[in-house]
Amino acid sequence: MLPALLVMALGAVLLGAALGFAAVKFRVEGDPLTEKIDAILPQTQCGQCGYPGCKPYATAIAKGEAEINQCPPGGDEGIRKLADLLGREYKPLSAEHGVEKPKALAVIDEQRCIGCTLCIQACPVDAIVGAAKQMHTVIAAQCTGCELCVPPCPVDCIAMVPIAEDISNWKWKYPVVAIRPVATR
């Protein structure tokens, strides 16, 4: 019995020493993974994931604190990409964080706007211009469609308008597979 204990103890000491040395030698600083996750997130900064922005959510995913299915704007595809990057199992978008919607832009009804600047303060990407008591306008090209400006507006003059299809953003459709049986009606 004694030799067995001795052998195991010896092994434990030696291996422990080796591991301790390695832990010091290979210490990892920073987390390059967060960047990679952040690059996949849609940067709407909408906070629907429960974090105050895309970067904090990315950090939470990297730490393993957050699920990958909490980002409605990123949608199904975003989840798949995250699953791919992290080697995690794909799971459908979590309903409590919202639903995937077609991308929309905030549009301010300029007749009703009272110039309160509340939406300007709410916009995470500074896409609304205007000054106090002056009418505000959304810079369409910079609006991420996060909807954060909608609730603060005291006169409800901000509407989310889905982006219309025009020739510059028109997409070729998936070819219809003629091989499937035609559905009987």
């Binding site: 940067q43 299809e165 020739i167 997409k171 070729w172 091989i179």
Partner: protein, 576 residues
């Protein structure tokens, strides 16, 4: 001369005889012209006219915002004189069937030109020449409508080895370049001469497929009579897509221009014969691009080439060729790369080289799509030497990253793969789908990157504002303390002159004393500052000749000051 080869290619039935046999007919102006503002690659020009305006033939009606991003864009012009009826959205000759902004002109029948003046490019700087071509609306007329002024940008600093003029016209049914070369070879050649001078090209090769002997003969004769050195007409083997710019460059020079690279970087540049003709008209005659030659062929009784004003609705053009009864569609371009039009009201644009009238008999719907059996016929036919079945495999499954790894974007959508596919797979449709999805992703990525930047900037700004606010607060606290100190000094005035001021500051200090840390009001700050100034003045007076009593008093004051300072010290911010 040694010709080079490109991989693959196909030899579909040419169907060119009938239309090529008749001379070009010039069509009169229709009852309405619909001129889209966006007719070239690049940004959309903004309209320069309003409804109700009268315009002359050749008058500029749309121009890009050239000061900024509009450099890519090209101008559009009124094709005839008349009244602008409306500037509104109209259905575009585009597979989407979507609308875009068009200028609708009701011709007045007078066909009155603007003042036309030849452009002496020899006495203008290259940038002026480019601006002239841009304003004349010259774009590539082979179908890609790439603005011509952007292709001559290398200009005079570096000489070009080879200027290639594309008269190959490899697509079935299309004969507009063939007729142009046969009938207007001299004008085309003068256009080529202008392009050659602008580009400073050492040699010019005019590539024409060998199934157009008349065009070859006409161009050869024109070249001989022009006495230009280093210019040759070359018959290239008839094989689709020999008329693709990259393929023609490869056939004539052996140079392969990769996707996304400029041909000039490889010492070559390629223009269509129609473009050369348009350059001639613009430079030598002062006429902007307002018409082009269009082949009407396919399911029509009398296929023919017409010179058509830009903006003429397609139905007016095809009516001259008498479409047959079973016509079911209109195709802009040829049968290999053309696009089905959303209707026959759409106008002829600068890209319209052919109006192909289709019928179920002429272009029968392909048999049902079968799965790909990886037979490799498509790879044998692909002129870009791609593996189309791999691109299909990944595009179909929406694995776009892999499709890009297999060089999806080197695909020129020539249609050879789908033409030979024994499984009748609409391969090109899958590539178009994958490409537009990838582009959409890239747009999203770009806007996401921009949003990230702006979000980070905002956070930085908020942090800075907070810091500044804290700093301001600290400064104010310090100021109020200074004021408090000042008033302590003043509470023991040295002279009577300070009495009233001291009283003022005393009352002020009474107000501030209970809460020293609180920010003082502006009025208090001003009062304190005044008091400080007075104290300084008195101190200055005192120091010149202080009496013993005064000195004692000053010492006492200094001592009390020191005491107060000592008391106040712990409360002061460290940077004070």
């Amino acid at each position: 001369m040694r010709l080079f080869n490109f991989n693959g290619g196909v030899k579909p039935e040419p169907h060119k005889k009938n239309a090529a046999g008749l001379p070009i007919a010039v069509l009169p102006a229709p009852s309405f012209l619909v001129i889209p503002l966006h007719q070239s690659i690049g940004g959309t020009p903004r309209p320069l006219v309003n409804a109700g305006d009268f315009v002359l033939k050749g008058q500029r009606i749309g121009a890009g915002d050239f000061s900024t991003a509009g450099e890519m864009s090209s101008a559009v012009h009124a094709s005839t004189s008349g009244q602008v009826v409306a500037v509104e959205e109209r259905c575009m000759p585009h597979p989407s069937g979507l609308s875009a902004l068009c200028v609708i002109i009701k011709p007045d029948g007078r066909d009155q030109w603007i003042a036309r003046q030849p452009f002496d490019y020899r006495h203008h700087s290259p940038s002026d020449t480019r601006a002239y071509l841009r304003d004349a609306g010259i774009v590539g007329l082979g179908g890609a409508v790439f603005p011509t002024h952007l292709k001559i940008s290398s200009g005079k600093h570096s000489a070009l080895d080879t200027l290639i003029i594309n008269g190959a016209e490899c697509e079935p049914f299309i004969t507009c370049d063939d007729r142009l070369m046969r009938e207007r070879a001299d004008a085309v050649l003068r256009g080529i001469g202008i392009l050659r001078e602008l580009l400073n090209a050492k040699q010019v090769l005019i590539g024409i497929e060998d199934n157009k002997p008349e065009a070859l003969a006409a161009m050869t004769a024109a070249v001989q009579s022009s006495n230009q050195n280093g210019m040759a007409v070359v018959a290239v083997p008839t094989r689709y897509p020999a008329g693709g710019a990259k393929q023609l460059i490869r056939v004539l020079t052996g140079i392969e221009v990769p996707h996304g690279k400029r041909a000039t970087d490889y010492g070559v540049q390629c223009f269509n014969v129609g473009t050369a003709y348009a350059v001639y008209e613009a430079v030598a005659l002062g006429q902007p691009l307002i018409s082009r030659i269009v082949t009407v062929a396919g399911n029509v009784a009398a296929p023919r080439n017409y010179e058509v004003l830009i903006g003429t609705p397609m139905k007016d053009v095809m009516a001259h060729s008498q479409p047959l009864d079973d016509t079911d569609r209109l195709i802009m371009g040829g049968p290999m790369m053309g696009v089905t039009m959303p209707g026959n009201e759409v106008p002829v644009v600068k890209a319209t080289n052919c109006i192909l009238v289709g019928s179920p008999k002429l272009f029968p719907p392909p048999p049902p799509e079968m799965p790909c059996i990886r037979c490799g016929e498509c790879a044998k036919a692909c002129p870009a030497n791609l593996q189309p079945f791999e691109l299909y495999w990944f595009s179909r499954a929406k694995i776009f990253g892999k499709a890009q790894e297999y060089h999806l974007f080197d695909c020129i959508e020539c249609g050879c793969c789908a033409y030979v596919c024994p499984s009748n797979i609409p391969l090109v449709d899958y590539y178009r789908f994958a490409k537009s999805e990838i582009w959409a992703h890239e747009r999203e990525k770009e806007s996401a990157d921009e949003a990230r930047e702006r979000y980070e900037f905002r956070q930085l700004r908020e942090a800075r504002e907070q810091q500044e606010k804290a700093a301001r607060l600290a400064a104010k606290t310090a100021a109020s303390r200074a004021a408090a100190l000042a008033h302590v000094a003043e509470s023991h005035p040295a002279t009577n002159a300070n009495q009233s001021a001291a009283e003022v500051s005393e009352s002020a200090s009474a107000a501030t004393a209970p809460d020293q840390a609180a920010a003082p009001t502006p009025a208090e700050l001003i009062a304190a500052a005044l008091a400080r100034a007075r104290v300084q003045a008195t101190e200055a007076k005192n120091t010149t000749a202080p009496t013993a009593a005064q000195q004692a008093e000053i010492d006492a004051i200094e001592a009390r000051r020191a005491e107060i300072r000592a008391q106040a010290q712990p409360h002061l911010p460290p940077d004070d």
